[in-house]
């Protein structure tokens, strides 16, 4: 059970002055239960890529298979796919419309055909999972702060109980505290609900701490694909395409240059701390 992309190619407005080659023969395999980070500069094709995963965009050429089925097959039900592959867009303002938060979160499960009661149950679970305080549930979603709106938006997709959850820049515009809270919450959902999670971001710091696999996009191509450790080892190449490794990577390289035998491939603050302490302890 997995998702396979086979040479997916996508062009915006083909044949006009606005033509843009957004994806160039992207081939990927996404295993069940993985926690994946997709990183790339603005315009690298990462948003285009994730919209292919739930069939919102149709590849100009190439194929996508979900659980062994071709999603471009005539008989394939894309609505079913979208319930299994939940996509949360960057701006929660684009999806909130109901009078109360609770009703808004019920929208997804109701579209799935669930009864009012079941839908409410799912909404209840989802709002719990994103950690939104219960006293807010019956307020208008338009009165919330940016971070809270984003939680509601995530809950709105989560309530459909997707097998795969894709988050497009879930931390954009949030302060560091709000960012950490959201990402911690997502990591917890990944553990507890056993979902495949794909996190799209342009910040290395964001994803390095959480994901087990990193896909770096550049000009519509997959540039690097591997564990954060493997990817950040190419930090020089990342810089060339306008990205950067986490600050920890730079610190460790600098320490190594100064003569300390630290592990330059540490990607998180924790690992870096351990590695530095170990070098000093060993002395």
């Amino acid at each position: 059970m997995s998702m396979i992309l086979d040479k997916v190619d996508y062009k915006y407005s083909p044949g006009t002055a606005y033509e843009k080659h957004a994806l160039r023969e992207v081939s990927l395999k996404i295993e069940d239960g993985q926690f994946i980070g997709v990183i790339g500069h603005t315009g690298s094709g990462k948003s285009t890529l994730i919209q292919h995963l739930n069939g919102l965009m149709k590849a100009t050429s190439g194929a996508i298979y979900y659980n062994g089925e071709d999603i471009y097959d005539k008989d394939y039900d894309l609505r079913k796919l979208r319930q299994k592959v939940g996509l949360v867009f960057q701006y929660p303002e684009h999806q909130l419309f109901e009078t109360t938060i609770f009703k808004d979160v019920c929208f997804g499960p109701k579209n799935k055909g669930l009864s009012q009661k079941d839908a409410e149950l799912k909404a209840f679970e989802a709002l719990r999972a994103v950690g939104l305080p219960e006293n807010l549930w019956y307020q208008s979603p338009f009165e919330l702060s940016g971070g809270q709106k984003r939680r509601v938006a995530i809950a709105g997709v989560l309530a459909m109980k997707p097998e795969m959850l894709i988050l497009d820049e879930p931390t954009a515009g949030l302060d560091p505290k709000g960012r950490d809270e959201i990402l911690d919450q997502v990591a917890k959902m990944h553990r507890e609900w056993k979902m495949t999670v794909i996190l799209v971001s342009h910040s290395m710091e964001d994803v390095a701490n959480y994901v087990e696999r990193l896909i770096v996009m550049n000009r519509g191509k997959v540039m690097l694909d591997g564990t954060p450790r493997e990817v950040f080892a190419h930090y020089k190449e990342l810089e060339e395409v306008g990205l950067s490794a986490p600050q920890v990577t730079y610190l460790m390289h600098e320490l190594r240059r100064k003569g300390l035998s630290v592990d330059v491939n540490a990607t998180t603050l924790e690992e870096a701390k351990d590695s530095i302490l170990k070098t000093f302890g060993a002395k």
């Binding site: 407005s13 044949g15 006009t16 002055a17 919209q51 739930n54 919102l56 609505r79 979208r82 319930q83 939940g86 996509l87 949360v88 867009f89 701006y91 303002e93 684009h94 999806q95 909130l96 419309f97 929208f107 997804g108 579209n111 799935k112 338009f142 709105g156 997709v157 459909m160």
Partner: protein, 266 residues
């Protein structure tokens, strides 16, 4: 899906038509539109077609782009053609039940349809080759004399340019909202009319909120830059007629004269 709306959209290219003064283009369009209603026979229609084809060719905008603009008026086109077809009195050509099609009806339906198609394509050449800013600049300058009778020309032009500028923004926004809701299982296609209208709520609410927010932001930004209307405002790039504008005026006037002549004598 919604990207197909071409009305009010600029198509960048390097052509003579693009470089013309917007006033020239507005005047030419006006005469072209009037000329469409002067002909009564295929000769006039042919002339208008040749004229239109030549400036489409000069504009370097792909023809398919203009035809796309026609989709918006397909319904109007069909209704107009049907009315003309069935309701024009005359010698019946075909007859069934209570309907009859006369030869006159057949001709006038065809003429009406051609006029509408030419109207849309002809005017879309202007919007496709002129940036919204240039268009409103031209309009403002051309209509300036109306200031004398207390018509707020500048304000109207400003409103127009903002409205035009917002079309692509809101279209894009609609596209994004639709996608966000489709991802949550919303269905904008199936169902009867009432159900369809109901299904639009998740699309319209965020769209309206966003439009109001944008309008508010824009008003604030304009105020922060001390915008106070048109009086005493100068332009960074004032409009000036070039030699090519003179030539264009001449061509258009000659065309118009010929069309009138054809309308009267043929």
């Amino acid at each position: 899906m919604l990207r197909d709306i071409t009305i009010g959209q600029y198509y960048p290219a390097d052509s003579v038509i693009h470089k013309l003064d917007p006033r020239t283009k507005l005047f030419a369009t006006l005469l072209f539109v009037i000329s469409l209603f002067t002909f009564r026979n295929p000769v006039g229609l042919g002339l208008a077609a040749v004229f239109m084809a030549s400036f489409i060719w000069l504009s370097k905008v792909p023809f398919g782009y203009m035809v796309k603009g026609l989709r918006a008026i397909v319904v109007i086109l069909i209704i107009t053609a049907l009315f003309n077809l069935f309701l024009t009195p005359g010698e019946p050509l075909v007859k069934f039940w209570i309907f009859s099609i006369s030869q006159e009806g057949f001709i006038s339906a065809g003429k009406m349809a051609m006029r509408l198609i030419f109207l849309i394509i002809g005017t879309s050449v202007v919007t496709l080759t002129t940036t919204p800013n240039a268009l409103t600049d031209g309009l403002e300058k051309a209509l300036r004399p109306l200031n004398a009778i207390k018509i707020p020309v500048h304000e109207i032009a400003m409103m127009m340019s903002i409205a035009l500028r917002f079309i692509p923004i809101l279209v894009e926004e609609t596209d994004k909202i639709m996608k966000a809701q489709i991802a949550r299982g919303a269905d904008f296609e199936s169902g009867n009319l009432i159900k369809k209208a109901k299904n639009m709520v998740p699309l319209l609410v965020p769209l309206f909120i966003s439009a109001f927010r944008r309008a508010n932001d824009l008003a604030l930004a304009m105020e922060a830059r001390c915008y106070h209307g048109g009086s005493g405002r100068t332009k960074m790039k004032p409009l000036r007629y070039q030699k090519r504008d003179g030539i264009a005026y001449m061509i258009v006037i000659v065309y118009f004269g010929v069309m009138i002549a054809v309308g009267i004598w043929l």
